[in-house]
């Protein structure tokens, strides 16, 4: 499903965000990506989303390879991968509902299905009362939940979530985690970057990957194999 092979990402002139990272996330897996600030979590997710290409190594997602993917492949890929951005990336000046419905419009889903579906997702994240408000006036946590609703609206095969609970209080964060687990139970693979260790510990069955200064220093799968 998602496979990184010896991936290195450099930003010339200086700066190396990732060094020789390899891992493989299978269909239906639930994985955490942890690490200190600046360790390369967002960079990893961006590479999987093919917003950037690796300097060396290969990223394979849903059968598309970073070495071969054309512009056409990339938008096909993005329609099946949901992304909750660390800085939300909502369309300014539009309502919460429009932001979520827009992701459906882009993928060409029929007009009359868009609004009900978008409303349903906003309800799931606890924002049904704010759906008609411009995202410019929403609180930090509310925006984050709009971003989550948008990422889920297309029923993605893979969900990439970058610090999706950073602006949420415990109660809201728990709600989002439940939503993710439910989605995962229905077969969506999930890769979630976070530094909140309480969150990671709350899911003892989940896969955990840890980055440190661009290197993969811990992979729970390998540890389990070794100890077995």
């Amino acid at each position: 499903m998602i496979k990184l092979t010896k991936v290195t990402k450099e930003y010339p002139p200086r700066g190396r965000a990732l060094s020789d990272v390899s891992f493989h996330i299978r269909k239906g897996e639930f994985a955490f990506l942890t690490g200190h600030s600046g360790s390369g979590k967002s960079t990893t997710l961006r590479l999987i989303h093919m917003a950037e290409r690796p300097s060396s190594g290969e990223v394979r997602v849903l059968g598309f390879s970073s070495e071969l993917a054309t512009g056409r492949d990339i938008w096909k890929l993005r329609r099946r991968v949901g992304f909750v951005f660390q800085d939300f990336r909502l369309l300014p000046g539009r309502t919460a509902l429009e932001n979520v419905a827009f992701a459906l419009e882009v993928t060409g889903s029929p007009r009359r299905e868009r609004i009900p579906r978008a409303n349903h997702l906003l309800e799931e994240v606890g924002l049904s009362t704010k759906s008609e408000m411009s995202v410019d006036v929403l609180s930090g946590g509310e925006r984050q939940r709009v971003a989550i609703a948008r990422a889920l609206v297309n029923e993605p095969l893979v969900l990439l979530a970058d610090e999706p609970t950073g602006n949420l209080d415990e109660r809201a964060a728990r709600g989002v985690m439940e939503l993710f687990l439910e989605l995962n139970a229905r077969g969506t693979s999930l890769l979630m970057a976070t530094h909140e260790l309480t969150l990671v510990r709350s899911q003892p069955d989940a896969r955990v990957l840890e980055l440190d200064e661009g290197r993969l220093v811990y992979d729970s799968e390998l540890v389990r194999e070794e100890s077995a």
Partner: protein, 284 residues
């Protein structure tokens, strides 16, 4: 639908910029339009004048009929020639008397007819250039019994030059002002893109195709260009009408040309936008 909604929203967001662009396009196309009207009328006038371009071969008085027949046959056989009229000495005198009635006395007291007989050679429309005329004249002048060949060389040359200046002028001005109009539309579109670069980037991130992103901008350019074209046509018609009424009657260009001008404005807008968008989408 999405595209139209977005394009109209963009125009609403920066109405002055749109008006400015449309106005500039109109100005550019207006200049082209004026020149087109002038050239078109020049062309019409020249065509009417050229109708009268002909070669006249004057023959000696002592020429034999079969010699005349040979010359006529050769001339008629040339591809440049539409018709050949023989004007006898008597016909020439009659014509002269008629044309110059105020000098009638001059002709009446004559013992002998001083005028020569001649062939008047009409040319086909496509063969009234200085070269064609000269070729026909040369053929006639080879015959020893042809005394002189007249065809107003200067006059034909000058007609030709005028027409060429008109054509070149329209082309040069058209291209120059076209480039200006394109630059202006492209700037307007680039500004619109610049103002919405974050939005475009976000659209790409959620999987929008380039076409989906591009369409509103192309439509915006098209509408701007179309408005400019319409305005230019209106202005040109107003100018034509003013001249027609106040100065002297001139002809309006064919309606297809006017429509063509408006569509050119629109196409122009699309093209300019396409270039502006293409460059930007590659950058992101």
């Amino acid at each position: 639908m999405h595209a139209l909604r977005e394009a109209l929203a963009a125009i609403r967001r920066a109405p002055f910029l749109t008006v400015l662009s449309a106005g500039m396009v109109a100005l550019a196309l207006f200049v082209v339009g004026l020149f087109t009207v002038v050239t078109y009328n020049l062309h019409q006038a020249l065509t009417r004048v050229e109708e009268r371009v002909e070669v006249v071969a004057y023959v000696r008085d002592d020429v034999r009929p079969e010699e005349l027949a040979a010359l006529e046959a050769e001339l008629v056989g040339m591809e440049e020639v539409r018709a050949v009229h023989f004007v006898s000495r008597e016909d020439a005198l009659l014509a002269a008397r008629e044309d110059l009635s105020e000098f009638e006395d001059l002709f009446t007291g004559l013992d002998e007819n001083p005028l020569p007989a001649s062939f008047e050679v009409e040319l086909h429309p496509g063969f009234r250039s200085p070269e064609s005329v000269a070729r026909v004249a040369e053929v006639a002048s080879i015959y020893p019994f042809v005394e002189a060949v007249a065809y107003g060389r200067d006059w034909v040359d000058r007609l030709h030059l005028l027409r060429q200046i008109g054509a070149i002028g329209t082309t040069v001005l058209g291209v120059a002002f076209g480039v200006v109009a394109a630059l202006i539309i492209a700037t307007a579109v680039r500004i619109a893109i610049f103002a919405r670069r974050d939005e475009i980037y976000i659209m790409r991130l959620v999987g929008a195709t380039n076409g989906f992103i591009r369409r509103p901008f192309l439509l915006e350019g098209f509408l701007t260009g179309l408005a400019g074209g319409l305005l230019a046509t209106g202005l040109t018609y107003a100018a034509y009408f003013a001249v027609y009424r106040l100065v002297f009657p001139i002809e309006w260009i064919p309606i297809e040309w006017a429509l063509g001008g408006v569509m050119t404005g629109g196409l122009f807008g699309i093209l300019a936008s396409a270039i502006a968008v293409r460059r930007y989408l590659q950058e992101v």
